[in-house]
Amino acid sequence: MKTESLRDTYGKELVELGRKDPDIVVLDADLSSSTKTGYFAKEFPERFFNMGISEQSMVTTAAGLAISGKKPFVSTFAIFLMRTYEQIRQSICYNDVPVRFVVTHGGITVGEDGATHQIVEDVGIMSGLPNMSVIVPSDSVETKSVIDYLENIKHPHYVRLSREKFPVINDLSYEFKIGRGYVVKDGSDATVIANGIMVSKALEAANALKDKGIDLRIINMPSVKPIDKDIIIKAARETGRIITAEEHSIYNGLGSRVSEVVSENYPVIVKRIGMRDTFGKSGKAMELFSYFHMDVKDIIDYVIQSLEEKSYENIS
C-alpha cells in the first residue's frame, strides 16, 4: 500500500485553508519544522505565532484569539500539549471557544525518541473535557478532510496525528463527518473497530483471516468523541464480537468508549488491543507495535480468541 505522512498533509492543507480564509491563524511552540506548520509560517508570517517553548502561553493566547473571532490552529507534539491540560480546560473548554488542536507525534510511532516523547494517554485526557471533540485520523486522505472540517467549527477540537507515514486506505471521495464511523470492510463473523494506523493493520488482518474462512467487519472510528453509537450497536448485534484497536492505551481511549456503548446497549464480547498501563520504549516505530502486541498478528489472534469464546447470549 502507498504510504503518506499525516503531518505533511496537515501542513499543506493548512496553507490551502489560509489562502481562502484570512481568519486562520496558527500557533506553534518551537516545533514548526516537525509539526509542519512551518509551511504556513513561510507563506503567512503575519498570521503565524511561534510562541517559543511556552505551551501554556500558546494555549491561553489561542483562547484570546478565538474569543476575538480568529480561527486558531495550535500545534506541538501531543505529549507537550498535555502539560497545559488545565489551560485547555479553563481557558478553552469552559469558555467553549473553537480552538483547533492538531497535535503530531501522538502514540508510539515517535519510535527511537522513547517513552518521554511518546504518549498513549492523550485521547483519554482530552475526551474527558466537556465541549471537546476528539479525532484520530487513519490516513492522509482522512486527515485532509478533517482539517477542512475544522475551518468552521464552533467548539474546541483535538486532532491527534502520529509521526510515521500511514498506508492510504481511504479513497479520494472520502468526506469526514464528526461523530461518524465508517465501515471500510463489511463482514459478519466479528468486528474490528479501529482508528489511526490500526485501521490499515486491521485490513491486513482481515485479508489473512479470509483464508481461514473468517469474514471480518472493519469499522474506522476517527471520532472518539462524539462516538458513533449506532454503528457500534449494529456491529454488536450483527457480528456478536468486537475487537478494538488503537495506538493508545486501552484505558480511556477508543476501547473504553466502545466498551461503554456496548455494555450499556447490547452486551457482547469486547477485546481491546492497545497499550496496557505502560509507558513506551525506544525502538523502530514498527518494531514497537509487535513488542507491545498491537500488530497484525495480534489482531488475528484476538479475533480468533473471541470466536472461540461463547457469546453472552449462549451463556444465558
Partner: protein, 273 residues
C-alpha cells in the same frame, strides 16, 4: 459616562457595599481582593474604557480580563452599577439559580472571558491584543492580575510573548495587595523586585498607589501612549475600606461571619442606617 473624582469615590463606596452584601449573603466568597481592586475597576469602567452597557459585544469596545477571577464580587458589582445588568441580580451571587458564579463566568453581560484559575488571563489578553492588531482595530486590552498570581509560570511566558509581539495595545495591572490565601506573599513566595523583573522582560512598568484615582488615570493614559506593552504595579490594601479586613489574610476568602461585623463593615462603607 465620564465620572468626576467625587463621583468616582461615591461609586467605589457603592461597589464596596455591594461586595460586602454579596459575600455576606452567600456566606462565602473573596472580599479581601475584591476590596483591594475596587478603585482600579471604578476608574477603568467609569472613566477610562470605551464601553457601552447597551452594546456589550460592540467590536470596537475595550476589553477587560479579570485574571484574578476570585475577585468576582468586585467585577460583578462594577458591571451591575455601570448598567450591564440589574443590581438586584447581585443578591443571587454564588447561588444555584443565579448567573453569578463564585468565579468570573462569561455568561454574565460585560464579562469577556471566564477566569478563576490563576495565571491564564494575561495570555488570553495577549491573544485578544494580537487579534485586534490583525483586524486593524483600535481597542485596548486590560488585564488585572493579583500578586500571588505572579507565582504562576504562565504569567511569565505571556510577558515574553507580549514583549516579542510588542503589544502596545495591552495594559496589565497588578493589584499588589501583598496577601494570598495562605498568608503574606512575602512569606509564601517572595519575589525580589517585581518591578525590575517585569522591566527586564521588556515591558514599560509604572508603579502607583492603586487607591489614588489621579495616579490610576495617569498611568492608564501613559499606557495608551506607550510604544511598548505596559505593566502597572498598583500598590493596594487588601480588604480596603473595612477596618477588620484591611491587611488581614483571614478575609482573603471569608465573608463577615456575623451580623454585627456585617453592619460594622457596611457602616464604614457609608451605608446610612
Amino acid at each position: 459616562m465620564e465620572a468626576t473624582q467625587i463621583d468616582l469615590s461615591d461609586i467605589a463606596l457603592k461597589i464596596r457595599r455591594e461586595i460586602i452584601r454579596m459575600v455576606y449573603n452567600a456566606q462565602s466568597g473573596h472580599p479581601g481582593g475584591s476590596l483591594s481592586v475596587t478603585d482600579i475597576l471604578t476608574v477603568l469602567y467609569f472613566k477610562e474604557m470605551n464601553i457601552d452597557p447597551n452594546k456589550p459585544k460592540d467590536p470596537k469596545r475595550d476589553r477587560l480580563i479579570l485574571s484574578k477571577g476570585h475577585a468576582s464580587p468586585a467585577l460583578y458589582a462594577t458591571l451591575a452599577i455601570r448598567g450591564f445588568f440589574p443590581v438586584s441580580d447581585l443578591s443571587g451571587f454564588r447561588k444555584l439559580d443565579s448567573h453569578l458564579e463564585g468565579h468570573v463566568t462569561r455568561e454574565v453581560p460585560g464579562v469577556e472571558v471566564s477566569t478563576g484559575s490563576l495565571g491564564q488571563g494575561l495570555g488570553i489578553g495577549v491573544g485578544m491584543a494580537l487579534a485586534g492588531r490583525l483586524d486593524g482595530m483600535q481597542y485596548r486590552v486590560y488585564v488585572i492580575l493579583g500578586d500571588g498570581e505572579m507565582e504562576e509560570g504562565n504569567v511569565w511566558e505571556s510577558l515574553m510573548a507580549g514583549y516579542k509581539y510588542n503589544l502596545n495595545n495591552i495594559t496589565a495591572i497588578l493589584d499588589k495587595n501583598g496577601i494570598q490565601l495562605d498568608g503574606y506573599t512575602k512569606d509564601i513566595m517572595p519575589m525580589h523586585d517585581i518591578k525590575s523583573m517585569v522591566e527586564s522582560f521588556g515591558w514599560n512598568v509604572i508603579e502607583i498607589d492603586g487607591h489614588n484615582y489621579d495616579q490610576i488615570h495617569e498611568a492608564v493614559q501613559a499606557s495608551k501612549n506607550s510604544d511598548r506593552p505596559t505593566f502597572i504595579i498598583a500598590n493596594t490594601v487588601k480588604g480596603k475600606g473595612v477596618d477588620f479586613m484591611e491587611n488581614n489574610p483571614k478575609y482573603h476568602g471569608s465573608p463577615p461571619e456575623s451580623k454585627e461585623l456585617f453592619e460594622r463593615a457596611m457602616k464604614q462603607l457609608g451605608e446610612q442606617i
